[in-house]
Every structure is written in structure tokens, then in C-alpha cells.
Symmetry: C2
Subunit: 134 residues, 2 copies
């Protein structure tokens, strides 16, 4: 597992790290039980402070993506039954929707707004309120 950061993107380093771990999990590059690179190793490789890596790992733990074991390391956590499969299906749905939306000639911002609006609506109606898998 190797990470690549864009120092000048304006996106916080710890978020970039989180993003890459999540992506690796979703694509299957990282599986349940796999150990992630050491905090110190990542920090060294990417020439950054260990604390920043800690932040990424801790948030990922809080989201239920991985588990930190004091003195041992960081490990990918079971995400609960064919979650990866579900996410793949979801992608298909989203993809077709996005395609149709682009045909309507919406800008990316408008598209995102429409999405967020719906999400807010849905949140109000249903019980998906709890964000993340905590």
C-alpha cells in the first residue's frame, strides 16, 4: 500500500490519506484484516508529521473502516457482510443518474446542489440520519 499526496491541492493531507484508504478498501486492494503501513512509515515516506497520519487513521477508525491496535498496528476492519457488493451496485445507480443529469446540461455545482438537496429531504424523512458507520 503506497500513498500519494498532493501538497499544493489545498485539500488537507489527512483527508487525502483517508480518501486513498477508503478507495483501496472499495476496490479490494485492502481487505479485512490487512495491516496498514505504520504511522511512522507513512509519515517518513511522505515526509510529513506522524500526527497527521494519526489523524487520518483515527478518523477512519471512527468511521469503522479500520481498527487501531495499541502497540500492534492498524488493520482493516470487517465492514459487515457484502458491503463492497452493495457499494458496487450503488455505483451503477449513481453512474446512470449522473449520465442523465449531464445530458440535461447541468454544471457540476448545480448537479451537486440537486444531490445535496435530495439528501437533505431524504434525511428529514427517514432514519439514515446517522452519518458514517460509527
Amino acid at each position: 500500500m503506497i500513498f500519494r499526496l498532493n501538497q499544493s491541492s489545498g485539500i488537507p493531507l489527512y483527508l487525502q490519506l483517508m480518501e486513498q484508504v477508503k478507495h483501496a478498501v472499495e476496490t479490494g486492494a485492502l481487505r479485512e484484516g490487512d495491516q496498514l503501513p505504520t504511522i511512522r512509515k507513512v509519515a517518513e515516506d511522505l515526509v510529513m508529521n506522524p500526527n497527521t497520519v494519526v489523524r487520518a487513521y483515527r478518523e477512519l477508525e471512527h468511521e469503522g473502516v479500520l481498527e487501531l491496535k495499541h502497540g500492534s498496528g492498524a488493520f482493516i476492519k470487517e465492514s459487515g457482510g457484502g458491503r463492497a457488493g452493495v457499494i458496487r451496485k450503488a455505483r451503477a445507480v449513481v453512474q446512470s443518474a449522473v449520465e442523465r443529469l449531464m445530458l440535461l446540461g447541468l454544471t457540476e455545482d448545480e448537479l451537486r446542489r440537486a444531490f445535496e438537496n435530495e439528501l437533505a429531504q431524504a434525511r428529514a424523512k427517514t432514519a439514515i440520519g446517522k452519518s458514517s458507520r460509527g
Copy 2:
């Protein structure tokens, strides 16, 4: 046009303002040429600094939602052909997609991620890159 802010929501006041103006435009409560409430009036009504209102209005101008006329006021701008109608159609598409996704049991975060991923894909392939209508 009356605005309502949530001081303790953690969401920046100027963003809340922007949100409400956009929503009013999308629902038709505000139409092309309509004058928005004065910067000072909004600031007074909501007990906040005029500069914060300015920020909201300026960003909306930058996004092409309204137009600021020095000495005259702020006015809703034509958004180009039946844009409102298009946006309404888009909403329907998004709504059905979101509903299906929720049935899959995705959390809000996962849903958002899937959406952003697709958006990034689409951006790479097509020419919708330019965000906002500027």
C-alpha cells in the same frame, strides 16, 4: 424575501444566506430582475454585519445568480433559457436515484462518496469541468 439564520448551526452565515437565495430562485420565489433586500436591511434584520451579507451577495454574483449594481441594489439575473425547468427535471432524476440508493442501506457518507466518485469520473471524460456558471 425574508431570511432565517441558524446562529448555532456551525454553518457560516454567508453560506446560509447564499443557500436561501439559491433556493428561492430554484423554487421561483425570486425571478429574473427581482430586487433583493438591501445589504443593510438584511444585516439589520438578522443582526449581523453588513460585510457578511456582502460576502454572500458577492459570491452569488460570482456564480451568476444575481447582479450587484453599485448605488442601486442587488438583482436576480437571468440564468439562461428554461434553466429552472431543467433543474426541476434534474431533481426528479436525483430523487429517484437517492431513493434507490437508500433502499440499498447506504449511509449518507457512502452515498455522498459514491456520488462524488462518479462526478470525478464524469469530469475526467467530458467537458463539464467548469464549475459554476461564471
